[in-house]
């Protein structure tokens, strides 16, 4: 077109980013890459091609990581780890700082390679992905600098295996690599099969920045390579971002291995538009929510919930906005959206949309022309989708939002939370009362008020429910790359072998403890009891033999006690103090019982009771002091990091320390607003059953703490399988740890276990923030402000 023609039409012209430097880099490698292990690139081997989604053309070929490759990478990381961790924090900070700087200096080539390899618009890589990645290294250089003072009592985890997705290849690399390296770990990272190039480019940059060899290793390959890394014995922790389906497999594969695990998985995040929202802003929010990165965003606002009174207006504006969206090839600087990752993903998106339309959904779709080649799918909104349709409940991972209406804020919360996922939520309202009320009530790891898809290195990112666990970014994210020194040093738990029973007779008056469910003593469902054998072999009492139905009943009672979570912290503190007071009043009786069960010396038993009283007071104290923080990301506004209760938690109490172990593992959960189903010490359950009377006199609402007696392994497995249990703490044998981790995948419950290592429950390290952190999950609420 000529100037005159443009003058008359006032059309946009394609404006292409220069890709010569990126092509030259590929050419310098002859478009073939080996792995980056131990500080050098290996010879390219058998592998596969990575293509430009926007054109379908081959960019380069990379090597399929074999078992031997993974072995070599893990060995290199292991070799480097001790020395890297031993460096003073300042030295590591300097290296991370150098990485941040070299990313900034090479931002353009990184942006172009990323856009080519992924298909996303150069605007996004240039303005979002790469700058955020650099910021991540800057931020974590700071944590390296401050590690000694801020994380005393914690050690690096060791060698971290990291598997990242194709939607934000470089940003996800930064999210994984920066905290791992900052805190003294070394890394074996596998970039996604479809988008390996920026990771390889980064390896080269890291080399230039002087990162010691072996600290960062990149192994390319498909899911099989990822599975090799996750299962590798030499890996101390697995950090995965990707689909919930693969997340479950990794949870299973790592069960019982003692590997630390963080999973950042899928979502179907609600985007709530209240009637008092700035509707134009909310429409623009939808653009950022679901048409950012072609909707291939785990935290995409893919479920629009709009209040009925403004629904027509909102949809009319949304339909108008759809018309002006431009779709094009990734290097075009005049587009809003690029290509989806590959033809298979495109077909999947189209299939889900077609099914929804067939089921009666109304289709709103951008009409503009799509480029001829490449995997393009138009921006789409599905209105009036039947709630039973897959598109309404499942992650589409494409530029498709479903839209539903709600009548009241209460219903908005109900709809928002009616999902297996809980990654993010976006809330649009000009009323701060309403917006913050909704923010508190939605189940999500990230809540954006009047904004969406904003992220920062200083603000933890991660989900609840089946969206995974762990946080990336901020202080909260650092803990996922550290391990408490105390537990690492703990000895293996010795199995408690009960003394041989002498006959059937129960001494003194027959006392058969029932179960404690919903505030009442309940007979076990099976009607069976088990004898509790004392230290001297006498039958002390019988307790109920709990079974899976008892677990079901206890979980139901705990679920019904949800209001405990919304009690004031002061109220929870008072009740914990009261429990301590009532336990103290019966101290002698509880001490005697410990002696009778365990054969402990009386002094030791009295000390355990005193410690249990103190611990109840400690968690009473913590109840109104375990607070969140206000993050200060680079914007005008606040990000409120709020620790929230997880929900219903199962606890398999340790066999040793029958009273203190029970109190130490249940009190932190109760203090933070969870409801607990505890399985008493299998060998010595009477300290817990005696505790019924403490509970009955302490005003603890019914259902907040339920106690079941029986086999730890059996009941642990039942709790692990129960999809209404949100967290499970298991302190028992190594086998129990393996069982509960493996069986926890149904709803990806948070598992906290000691892998058969026995804490010293009397030590101060068996109390406090480590447990409180496990009892809560951080919700980050972003509140930009300004008038």
């Amino acid at each position: 077109m000529t100037v005159a023609q443009y003058f008359d039409s006032m059309d946009y012209a394609p404006s292409k980013e220069d890709d010569s430097a990126a092509r030259a880099w590929l050419a310098a490698h002859e478009s073939r890459f080996g792995h980056f292990i131990g500080g050098r690139f290996g010879t390219p081997g058998e592998g596969f091609d990575t293509v430009e989604p926007a054109t379908g053309k081959r960019l380069a070929s990379v090597t399929q990581g074999s078992g031997a490759d993974v072995d070599a990478a893990v060995a290199a990381a292991r070799k480097a780890q001790k020395g890297w961790a031993a460096l003073p924090g300042h030295e590591r900070a300097l290296k991370l700082y150098a990485l941040a700087r070299i990313i900034q200096r090479n931002a353009r080539i990184l942006s172009v390679v990323e856009a080519l390899d992924n298909g996303k618009p150069i605007r996004e890589t240039r303005d979002i992905d790469i700058p955020l990645a650099a910021r991540h290294f800057y931020h974590h250089a700071g944590w390296a600098q401050l590690q000694d003072s801020q994380f005393a009592g914690y050690d690096p985890v060791g060698v971290i295996g990291q598997v990242i997705p194709w939607n934000f290849p470089f940003l996800m690399l930064a999210w994984k690599v920066a905290p791992a390296l900052a805190l003294g770990n070394t890394v074996v990272l596998k970039p996604a099969e479809a988008t390996p190039l920026t990771a390889l480019l980064f390896a080269e940059l890291a080399q230039a920045a002087g990162l010691p060899e072996g600290v960062l290793n990149i192994v390319t390959g498909d899911g099989a390579t990822g599975a090799l890394i996750a299962a590798h014995d030499g890996v101390d922790k697995v950090a995965f971002t990707g689909s919930t389906e693969v997340g479950r497999k990794i949870r299973e594969a790592t069960a019982g291995s003692g590997k630390s695990l963080t999973l950042e998985l899928g979502g179907k995040s609600p985007f709530i538009v209240c009637e008092d929202a700035d509707l134009d802003a909310a429409v623009e929010g939808v653009v950022d929510a679901i048409w950012f990165n072609q909707g291939q965003v785990c935290c995409a606002g893919s479920r629009i919930l709009v209040q009925e009174g403004v629904a027509d207006d909102f949809h009319a504006r949304l339909a108008a906005r759809l018309k002006t969206l431009r779709i094009g090839t990734s290097l075009d600087k005049t587009i809003d959206m690029g290509a989806v990752i590959d033809p298979a993903q495109r077909a999947r998106i189209a299939g889900m949309v077609d099914a929804a339309v067939a089921a009666g959904a109304t289709l709103l779709q951008a009409e503009g022309a799509l480029p001829d080649a490449g995997s393009f799918y138009p921006p789409t909104v599905l209105q009036d989708v039947p709630a039973t349709c897959a598109a309404a409940t499942e992650e589409i991972f494409g530029p498709v939002a479903v839209s539903m209406t709600f009548r009241t804020p209460e219903e908005a919360v109900q709809l928002a939370n009616h999902s297996r996922y809980g990654l993010a939520a976006s809330i649009w309202s000009e009323n701060v009362n309403l917006a913050l009320d909704l923010a508190a009530k939605v189940q999500a790891g990230i809540v954006w008020v009047n904004c969406t898809n904003v992220m920062d290195a200083g603000v933890g990112f991660g989900g609840v429910k089946e969206s995974g666990f762990g946080r990336e970014g901020g202080r909260e994210g650092c803990f996922d790359y550290l391990k408490p020194r105390a537990l690492a040093k703990a000895p293996e738990r010795k199995p408690v072998v009960p003394a041989k029973a002498k006959g059937f007779a129960i001494e003194a008056v027959d006392r058969t403890a029932k179960l404690f469910i919903g505030g009442k003593q309940a007979r076990p469902d099976g009607g069976n009891a088990r004898a509790v054998i004392g230290a001297r072999g006498e039958v002390l009492a019988e307790v109920g033999e709990g079974n899976r139905k008892d677990i079901r009943n206890a979980v139901e009672a705990a679920t019904a006690a949800a209001s405990w979570g919304s009690k004031t912290q002061h109220n929870r503190a008072q009740i914990l103090y009261y429990m301590g007071e009532n336990l103290s009043a019966r101290a002698a009786e509880f001490a005697d019982r410990i002696v009778a069960q365990t054969g402990a010396k009386p002094d030791r038993a009295r000390a355990e009771v005193a410690a249990a009283v103190s611990r109840l007071f400690s968690y009473g104290a913590w109840a109104d002091k375990y607070e969140g923080v206000v993050h200060m990301p680079p914007m005008r506004g606040l990000a409120l990091a709020v620790p929230e209760s997880i929900g219903v938690a199962g606890v398999i109490c340790p066999t040793e320390a029958p009273l203190l172990g029970f109190v130490s593992t249940t009190a932190p959960l109760i203090a933070t607003g969870n409801r607990v189903v505890a399985v008493a010490s299998e060998a010595h359950p009477l300290s817990a059953t005696d505790f019924y009377q403490v509970l009955e006199t302490s005003d603890l609402p019914a259902g907040v703490l339920n106690i079941v007696t029986g086999s730890a392994d059996t009941l642990g497995a039942e709790l692990a399988k129960h999809n209404g249990v949100d967290a499970l703490w298991a302190f028992g044998s190594a086998a129990l740890s393996e069982t509960v981790e493996r069986l926890s995948t149904g709803n990806l419950k948070r598992v906290f276990t000691d892998y058969g290592r026995a804490w010293d429950w009397m030590s101060p390290e068996a109390e406090g923030e480590l447990f409180l952190r496990q009892a809560t999950q951080i919700k980050n609420i972003w509140v930009p402000y300004g008038e």
């Binding site: 100037v3 003058f7 006032m10 404006s15 008092d276 700035d278 914007m635 005008r636 300004g786």
Partner: protein
Amino acid sequence: MGLLWACYKNNKKELQSKHFRVRYTKFRCASLNARLAQEGYEMSQTAALSAGTAPKSDLEPDLKSAPEKGLKPASETGHARNPGLPLDLSLIEAVRVNTSASERRAAALPGRRAVKADAQSAWLLKAVTCIDLTTLNGDDTEGRVRRLCAKAAQPVRPDLLDALGMGDRRITTGAVCVYHRFVGAAVDALQGTGIPVAAVSTGFPAGLSPHATKLAEIEASVKDGAAEIDIVITREHVLTGNWQALYDEMRDYRAACGDAHVKAILATGDLKTLRNVAKASLVCMMAGADFIKTSTGKEGVNATLPVSLTMVRAIRQYEAMTGIKIGYKPAGGVSKAKDVLTYFALMKEELGHDWLQPDLFRIGASSLLGDIERQLEHRVTGAYSAARRHPIG
């Protein structure tokens, strides 16, 4: 909730139909007519619109007879003049503007729409045709104004236009904008060029003269040949939420302008909040403004992208309600060629193609033209230009 959307709710089927808008307009205009008639106020355009079927050329009979005087006549542009609406306070109450979200949209826009090479030259030339070339200084003289007028008539060197293949197009600025004192001189200097003269008025820039004086000032400028009047609103009315007073004032200005088009300067730098900006925009449009304009150029902060976003969204809302297209004029603060490309993108994205033409988009600027000239020469020659290589304005 706005009345329009209340109507939508009551009759969802009509939401889909074009018919609805005509009916709505008829309803609003009929009620306006009744009120105006009561007040002895004449507004022929309103009558024409209320019929709903009048051919477009009938809408602007007066302008048609004097095309050289003002904005392009309706017969040429197809845009009906704004007859206004009765003041609807529910619309004002329903205003919601989220500042942070507006800023984010404004900040992301330039990155989403890069305009380069030939398209950029074309857009910059279009920008020239949208400039209200302005001098509003205490030391202005007739000689200074005549020099400006000469520049307005030939804002870009002909050799550059030739090189760009635009030699056969008559590229002039959109208007020349001066104080009342120089309207006559400017009209004289621009004779035969077709370039309208715009006069700032109503006690510009503070707008605190007596109301009668302001009306007299408008009438005097119209009499001297000003085809466009840039009025300033009384900021106090906005800051105290006295929407009726603002509406009445604006309606009087509009009446005093007669056939001259009226641009309402909101002085957004004084209004401070985007909510105030949105509310003032709606009131001025309801009171009959043909254009809404950001600034006098004398406030501490002039046109910004978030303010512009807010105003153009108000324009979009008004069009959705009435079918009437209101023009937009950012003033002050648009001094670089790069900025004006972003403003065009904003108009195109938020309002559409119609707002990329001088009848619905103007830029109040004095130094922007110089930067555009330099950019155009760079495009033609490949060498960076200098101000002295282009005739002074």
